[in-house]
Symmetry: C2
Subunit: 362 residues, 2 copies
């Protein structure tokens, strides 16, 4: 195909190939506008506009001339200008803030959302907040300035009162995964309490009484709900000291791995472990899969290979969350101006091999 030489000194690239022809830089030699097209077709600017937009009341022959001029010039309408003129104050962009779009939870959510809004001619702008509150603030501002038509946010902030003004100005917010605080806005959430309760009940039923919990950042409402509900169920079963085996703030796979190791080194060690999200479950699996007699495991969120690995999970459907989010959002865009709605999606326990491991002789 092409002659390639091994890269020399380039950071991480493997091979670097130089192609033959030239490609231009960002030097912009004035794109053709409606004026140029109109001139070339020998019509007025408005006629050109009409012709290109198929507005009717344009002579067939004229329309063709204009179209041809546009093609020859490589004309492309300027969406920004159009929108500025049209409503002035809104675009066809939907903004979405998520913790980490590399995480399947967020990316499937985003993907489901995108598929729904695409048919309305809307585009999705996604940004990673890295679950960082400052990033979230800055990026929210940036999206709002870009005049996104609506904002979908998986927020890390403890309060959303600062968004009240925007909200009143008519831009729809849909909170996903985590609810709005101090602001009455639409939301699509999971039944975290129900899911965690099922998980706990399942383990109790199997005879476990010493159960470890590895949780995400403790400031996140999702995590709080999952942990407290799980704990409440244990307590109701007479396990008062459940917090003894609780480790929180395991926000990535590595720290989750360490947390699990920590739990297992205790004496007596827990006979079962509950992990509150997909990353933590992954970390736990990395540790458990090479143990001769691992403790039982239940994770929140489905895993890509959950069925094959035989991991018991509390599952739900992120793509569906995306679709529900789209629904709420589009209804707002279509004029619904009623009270804020919270859609709470169910979770489901899928018992698999990892929880069939008995409490043993602990």
């Amino acid at each position: 195909m092409i002659a390639c030489l091994p890269a020399s000194g380039r950071r991480r690239a493997g091979i670097l190939c130089a192609m033959t022809e030239d490609a231009p830089g960002p030097h912009r030699p004035g794109r053709p506008g409606l004026v140029e097209v109109a001139a070339r077709a020998g019509v007025s600017i408005k006629t050109a506009s009409r012709a290109l937009n198929g507005e009717g009341y344009v002579a067939h022959e004229t329309r063709q001339r204009v179209q041809q001029a546009a093609d020859e010039l490589g004309y492309r309408a300027n969406g920004m200008a159009r929108e500025l003129r049209l409503g002035g104050n809104t675009s066809t962009l939907i903004g979405m803030l998520g913790g980490d779009l590399g995480n399947p939870f967020y990316s499937k959510l985003a993907s489901g959302l995108e598929r729904e809004v695409r048919f309305r001619g809307l585009q999705l702008v996604t940004v990673n907040t890295d679950e960082d509150t400052r990033s979230e603030q800055r990026l929210t501002d940036a999206l709002l300035e870009r005049r996104v038509r609506a904002l979908v946010v998986a927020s890390t902030l403890p309060s959303h009162e600062h968004l009240a003004a925007e909200h009143r100005h008519g831009i729809p917010f849909v909170f996903v995964d985590r609810p709005p605080v101090g602001l009455s806005a639409d939301a699509v959430l999971l039944d975290n309490r129900g899911g965690a309760h099922q998980a706990a009940a399942h383990l109790l039923e199997l005879g476990h009484t010493r159960i470890g919990i590895v949780g995400d950042l403790s400031r996140l409402s999702t995590n709080q709900e999952r942990v407290t509900s799980f704990g409440a169920t244990l307590r109701a079963a007479g396990i008062a000291d459940w917090r003894e085996h609780l480790i929180e703030d395991a926000h990535d796979v590595d720290t989750a791995q360490r947390a699990v190791l920590d739990l297992l080194r205790r004496d007596p060690a827990p006979t079962a472990i509950f992990t509150t999200n997909n990353r933590i479950t992954t970390g736990a699996l990395r540790v458990l899969h090479r143990l001769p007699a691992p403790p039982a495991l239940i994770g929140f969120d489905e895993l890509d290979m959950g069925d094959i690995l035989g991991v018991t999970v509390v599952t739900h459907d992120p793509e569906n969350m995306g679709r529900q989010t789209a629904r709420l959002l589009l209804e707002r865009l279509d004029g619904y101006a009623g009270t804020a709605r919270w859609v709470i999606l169910p979770t489901r326990l899928i018992p698999r091999a990892s929880s069939r491991r008995p409490p043993g002789t602990g």
Copy 2:
């Protein structure tokens, strides 16, 4: 927290909750603009602009008045208008077209890219093409009209000549995963041939001679490279009829599953299988994991749980691909106007348990 009632008749939602306060619809009662702010602060529109942008030459006291007026009014600069005025013809948006942003390959790529461009104040607009050529065309146009500053595209099209005009107008394209055809543009690709070769060599070394191949859409260049390179290695080892065990166009997990079953039902059945991407590997695993004596397996692309499942893979780093893409793109934006560059990233074979299964008595 809030009173919730079970949803009645709602499509898939679980529970629907009505909040108390009101939330406005899209009725836009005129957002405040610079004019309003200026008026309220008792200064000219230009002074307001200067004050808000911290341009200097504004009396301290004036600046405060303006700032306060802006805050009270909930003023937010209009990015579209600003950009229109500024260059007229470009935004701070980067467009990215991918087959399925729900697929970890694309979402990690996108995430890596987003993390790099974010620091330059650029935002990433991602769209799913569903590997459909018509969608790709339409969405490309939409992004171009929105005047994205650059376009990242994992293309499904057989040719990209239609983009030549755009390219000459100065908008940088970076092709990812699949190279541009009929257009000289930057690209970030994988060493598909090398990876497939390694996979074949590995299986040959272990004594396999009857090897099944399950491929993706046959029109995709990535798939062609992987399949033909794999086949070439087999042929070089004296296996002339390798195409007998080739099944292509298994584009999703389900069809991949069926393809694998098909291969296994043959007599004699292959003693090993090569799957050309992550989805197909997943499908294969679903079938193989419950077989008493499954054939050996090698998959292209790493899997989330590849290490735990013990799947031998030809791996690479999608997030790094995103970073490399960002690098090329930002260099263009910074004025590099030289020849198009292709960065070809290496792949690496990770031998794990799934390929240690011997050819058996086939």
